[in-house]
């Protein structure tokens, strides 16, 4: 299971998207549309598995699109997001 790090804070900049700052390392990351959707998923539910996130993203971001990404593509996107965010301490693994 994954949750947001208590040291991560996100700043919404309207048209300029969202920036996530790690309060201890002081490194910041600009989120693209997909990453923003995944990050805000943690507003609705505190903990997620990678599979749950992939299902959530597929359900909310690619509804009824014939030429949209496949489930496998979405799963790859979520895994890349989790690897980046967890690797930089913005998401933490919880039991």
């Amino acid at each position: 299971m994954l949750s947001r790090s208590p040291y991560a804070t996100a700043v919404s900049l309207d048209d300029d998207g969202t920036i996530v700052l790690h309060l201890r390392t002081q490194e910041y990351y600009r989120l693209n549309g997909t990453a923003q959707r995944l990050w805000t998923a943690f507003d609705e539910q505190k903990t997620w598995t990678v599979e749950q996130l992939a299902r959530h993203l597929y359900r909310t971001a690619v509804p009824f699109k014939e030429d949209g990404p496949s489930r496998a593509d979405v799963q790859d996107d979520v895994e890349a997001f989790v690897e980046t965010m967890a690797g930089n301490g913005l998401l933490t693994h919880v039991s």
């Binding site: 208590p6 040291y7 804070t9 700043v11 919404s12 900049l13 309207d14 300029d16 998207g17 920036i19 700052l21 309060l23 201890r24 390392t25 002081q26 910041y28 600009r30």
Partner: protein
Amino acid sequence: MPAPIAYTLGRKAPDAPPDAFFTKEMRSVGIWIERSAAVPAALVTRAANALALHPHASAATSSSSTDALAVTNALTIEVRLGKPHTTGPPSSWNCVAADAQGTVWRTPEGVRWEGDGGGQVQWHEDRGTARLWVENPRTPAGRHAVASGLRHALTGALARLGWTPLHAAALRPPPNADSGASVLLVGPSGSGKSTLTAGLLQRGWRCVSDDQVALAPSDHAAPRVGRLSPTLRLCPDAWTRLGFQKAAFSSSATRVPLADGAPSDPAQKWSVPLGTLDDHAPARTAAWAVPRRVIRVGIADTPTSRLVPCRAARLLPTLLSQSLPPSVLPTAVATAQTQRLGALLRHADGFELTAGHDLYEAPGRLADLLTAARTPSRASTA
């Protein structure tokens, strides 16, 4: 046991002008001094005034800072003789920030600041207390350690009480000016904020501060910024080049030492108290502003200056770099500070100024660039 002395500092001064920033909102910061430290009251007052804070209660006595200050104050700074207690070896400390004034460590006891003058500030977040330790405040170096330590502790206290100290200049436009909205000039030391401020002053703008401001606590509305440095500091040649003469100000317009025993200012700048600017009509200062333009300032070796729009995502790292580092603050305080900077950018238009030779010669020309860059959606908002 000798009785300590308590000073309470804040902006609720009875003689504060009606438009003073924070007059109604400011919670106090108590400063408690171990009597044996023998720190003169004038030194405490000067350190507080350096952040545009004013004393509003006279000395009190009590056997402890808790008795003296807990009822009336949200946060206490204690000045003590000696060195802070340490449980872990220095090798286990984690350096989290450093600047020209000192180094910040995360120790087993919490966040600790070691000033280059020898003072040390240890934050005790659970008690709402910062302890400033000095070894010998009777020497010039010791007095400098007290002054710089108090300044550091007071800045941290303001952040913990909900304000966001920011290294920036803020100005209001002249009434009915085409150049529209209040501006915030952000950039590192030496980027020209004070020179541009003086230039805009010549064009009728009103100065909130040329170097240090504080954002008021407000997560959603456009934040107000108020003054944290009460002087305008420029090199003598800059004053002359801009056409200001010392005689144009009151007799207090002289170089003001930062503190007794402080290292001499390498730039030998003249500090002019902003209050003296208002000796001349019309008023050249303002207590606060709501910036609708945030301008990142930089100097370039180019003949012509440029003022171009800049995305908020590029400005946020600049604002973060000129505020207190999040890693030295409690998580909740750092989060609130970051959100407040985001709110500032959401309510303002972002610009990047590349200041060239023309602005060096005539910094007031920034007013023309601001007029040319007028944004219809937010024009005429003070």
